[in-house]
């Protein structure tokens, strides 16, 4: 429907949005890159000087939180997948008339402020709480406390991002045509085989979306480590936040942010290449 005048319409419609996103999202990336190559201090002022050593210095000094961020985010993503997939499956296939209520329950945590629900875990996992005492009795709490350990941070991240895992998987499971499963069973497949060969591959796009939507924000998170962790559970996010807002060492902070973004982009592209096309075609089960 693109007649002469109409050709302009989409551009006019798009202009405010594209302008906003380019000026306030794309351009700041350039500025962050520039800041990462500055030298100087907050007192004496900063100067752009192609200081590539900022990257090297920041990465050596802060390599522990850097690695931990990906470790914790990875662990949390896997656990969220293990917890979330069955839940999504249950809602999609066994939900019945409770489906909407269950979905609301899954989304409900979002209705409370992120900080408060993380802070609530401090109460739940406090040293004297029944939960901690129970975990201690089973032996899952070395040192007698759960807070200020890696476990608490990973548990927090898993909890906070679980809905991001469940919803995409639910969405793709819901679209699975039940007749396909019936067909598989008609061909003498057991329930388990039907699941592995039919349902799982068809839900792969949802799994891919869910894991990415969980892993990416989790790797940059710092709130969970702040509330639930100790000094050797800090993540890259804590470091970046500290450098930007406390120490005001902007070049190092910008360098770290940039590396974080670069690593995530690499992981995402590799993951999509690896899991993407096969998952889309549903040819083979995605290794979970």
């Amino acid at each position: 429907m693109a007649t002469g005048r109409r050709r302009l319409t989409p551009y006019l419609l798009l202009f405010p949005g594209v302008f906003w996103l380019v000026v306030f999202f794309v351009v700041p990336m350039y500025y962050m890159a520039r800041l990462s190559l500055d030298s100087g201090t907050i007192e004496k002022g900063f100067e752009f000087s192609w200081q590539w050593s900022n990257y090297h210095d920041a990465l050596t000094l802060y390599k522990d939180p850097f690695i931990r961020a990906f470790e914790y985010a990875g662990a949390a993503t896997i656990i969220a997948l293990l917890i979330g997939y069955p839940l999504a499956y249950a809602i999609a296939f066994k939900g019945g008339r409770w489906k909407n209520a269950m979905l609301v329950a899954v989304v409900a945590p979002f209705f409370t402020t992120y900080l408060i629900r993380t802070y609530a875990w401090q109460t739940i996992l406090a040293d004297q709480s029944p939960v901690t005492k129970a975990l201690n009795a089973i032996g899952l709490a070395p040192g007698g406390h759960v807070l200020a350990t890696a476990g608490a941070v990973i548990a927090g991240i898993t909890y906070n991002f679980l809905p991001f895992m469940v919803l995409p998987i639910y969405a793709s499971l819901e679209r699975v045509d039940p007749r396909l499963i019936e067909a598989a069973k008609d061909l003498y497949a057991s329930s388990r085989a039907a699941f592995v060969k039919v349902t799982l591959p068809l839900s792969a796009p949802g799994v891919v979306a869910g894991t990415l939507l969980t892993f990416i924000p989790a790797s940059g998170d710092y709130v969970n480590a702040f509330f639930l962790g100790g000094p050797n559970n800090t993540m890259l996010g804590n470091t970046i936040q500290g450098l930007y807002l406390n120490t005001r060492d902007y070049p190092a902070a910008a360098a770290l942010s940039f590396v974080l973004m670069a690593v995530i982009m690499v992981i995402v592209f590799v993951y999509i290449r690896f899991a993407g096309s096969e998952a889309l075609m549903g040819e083979e089960a995605t290794p979970v």
Binding site: V22, V23, V26, V27, Y30, Y31, R34, D38, T41, I42, E43, K44, G45, F46, E47, Y62, D64, P65, L103, V107, A126, D127, Q128, G143, G144, H145, L147, A148, L167, P168, A171, P205, G206, V208, A209, G210, L212, L213, G230, P231, N232, T234, N238, T239, Q241, G242, L243, L245, N246, T247, R248, V268, F269, I272, R273, A275, G276, S277, A279, L280
Partner: protein
């Protein structure tokens, strides 16, 4: 609506690569836009040379009036002082408790101060070393001493002519205090020195402060360093010791004001903490006590300063004068239990709150603080290096 949400587009494998030419055009446009902005931008941190001119002196004129915004640490003032001041002078006070950490506060205000603004504040209260740092950067104003006669008259002798402000030109102490050990004497009666905090018996049951100039000098004392002669290497050695303890799990957390929570709940046995908090905590739990470490404590003072761009310096100085009247000061000290910089408070408290008047923590004797020191000064490249090393341990 749920359906709309659930169909959120994500990385569902559609790794679209935009067609080459389109991408080029957009990239060129973005680059052009940013270069344009870059060319006409700049006025921010990259062009500030941190230059400062002469330090101005506050101009006090006439009677105090109008609005006064004060930034202070939390829980540092009683409920009545502000209303009483408002009644006495007619000034309308906005008292904000947004100073949680010196560095964090400095970080927040620095972009404004560098431009000569203070975000509406006419007074804020920061610890001595930070006040000096700000003064050296030209962010503070000198005071008009004629408008603060009470300060001249009542400031205790040992806080006059301090190294950070030899001429008492810009900093008026708000309260001073001691940093030492606060211990759950019911859980860990044996902790009597800083070195005891590193005892594996208390692994994971110890907190230290994120305030570098409290934690590190105390550990240096534990290592036998004479603070008057401390070198950069001494600082770094102490930081290494702290790092080892943090890595091994000996130190549970590095905290600001929130060590009180860990102590109250018994999550930790002992912390490095501030004297006034000990008294407040004791009210809830008499087993929590301030223990003067064998090696001695750190002495510090939080100071009222007037920043550049303060909108109402006249009212600010009136406030300083007001709180240096022993009567008003007694009210404040009786609430926060820190060491008052105003002489003449003790006799007043002896009548209104004799227990407080007897406390070593509020009116420490010379003997009590015999081994206590102020934090050794750090500046320039030394400060940057030490701060970076310490922050790496605390925030990872």
């Amino acid at each position: 609506m749920l359906n709309a949400w659930v169909r959120t587009e994500g990385k569902d494998g559609r790794a679209r690569r935009a067609r080459g030419p389109q991408l080029m055009v957009v990239a060129v446009l973005a680059l052009a836009a940013s270069l344009a902005i870059a060319a006409c931008g700049g006025g921010g941190i990259e062009s500030s040379g941190g230059g400062k001119g002469k330090v101005e002196t506050v101009k006090v004129s006439g009677k105090p009036s109008g609005n006064l915004t004060i930034s202070n640490w939390p829980l540092y003032i009683d409920k009545n002082t502000v209303p009483d001041f408002e009644k006495a002078t007619g000034v309308s006070v906005k008292y904000i408790e947004d100073v949680n950490d010196n560095q964090e506060f400095f970080g927040k205000l620095q972009p404004l101060l560098a431009k000569g603004e203070s975000g509406g504040r006419s007074i804020f209260v920061v610890t001595d070393w930070m006040a000096q740092k700000m003064y050296d950067l030209g962010y503070l104003q000198n005071l008009d001493k004629a408008a603060i006669p009470n300060v001249e008259k009542n400031l205790v002798p040992n806080l006059r002519g301090r190294p950070i402000d030899p001429k008492d030109a810009y900093a008026v102490p708000w309260q001073s205090g001691m940093t030492g050990l606060i211990v759950r004497t019911d859980l860990a009666p044996d902790i009597k020195s800083i070195c005891d905090l590193f005892n594996p018996k208390y692994k994971g049951k110890v907190d230290m402060l994120t305030e570098m100039r409290d934690t590190v000098p105390l550990v240096m004392k534990c290592q036998g360093v004479d603070l008057a002669k401390a070198t950069e290497q001494d600082w770094l050695n102490a930081i290494d010791k702290i790092k080892a303890a943090a890595d091994s799990g000996q130190i549970r957390r590095f905290t600001g004001n929130d060590y009180a929570k860990d102590l109250s709940s018994g999550d930790v046995d002992a912390v490095i903490g501030w004297s006034g908090d000990a008294i407040q905590l004791q009210a809830d739990n008499p087993d929590i006590q301030f223990v003067m470490p064998k090696e001695g404590c750190m002495l510090w003072s939080d100071n009222m300063v007037i920043p550049v761009g303060a909108p109402n310096p006249t009212a600010a100085e009136a406030w300083m004068n007001y709180v240096y009247d022993p009567k008003n000061q007694a009210q404040i000290t009786d609430y926060n239990y820190y060491v008052s910089p105003v002489s003449g408070v003790k006799p007043i408290l002896q009548k209104t709150d004799p227990t407080a008047a007897k406390s070593d923590l509020i009116f420490p004797s010379k003997q009590f603080t015999a081994k206590c020191d102020a934090a050794p000064p750090l500046s320039g490249a030394e400060e940057t290096k030490v701060t970076a090393a310490f922050n790496a341990v605390v925030t990872g």
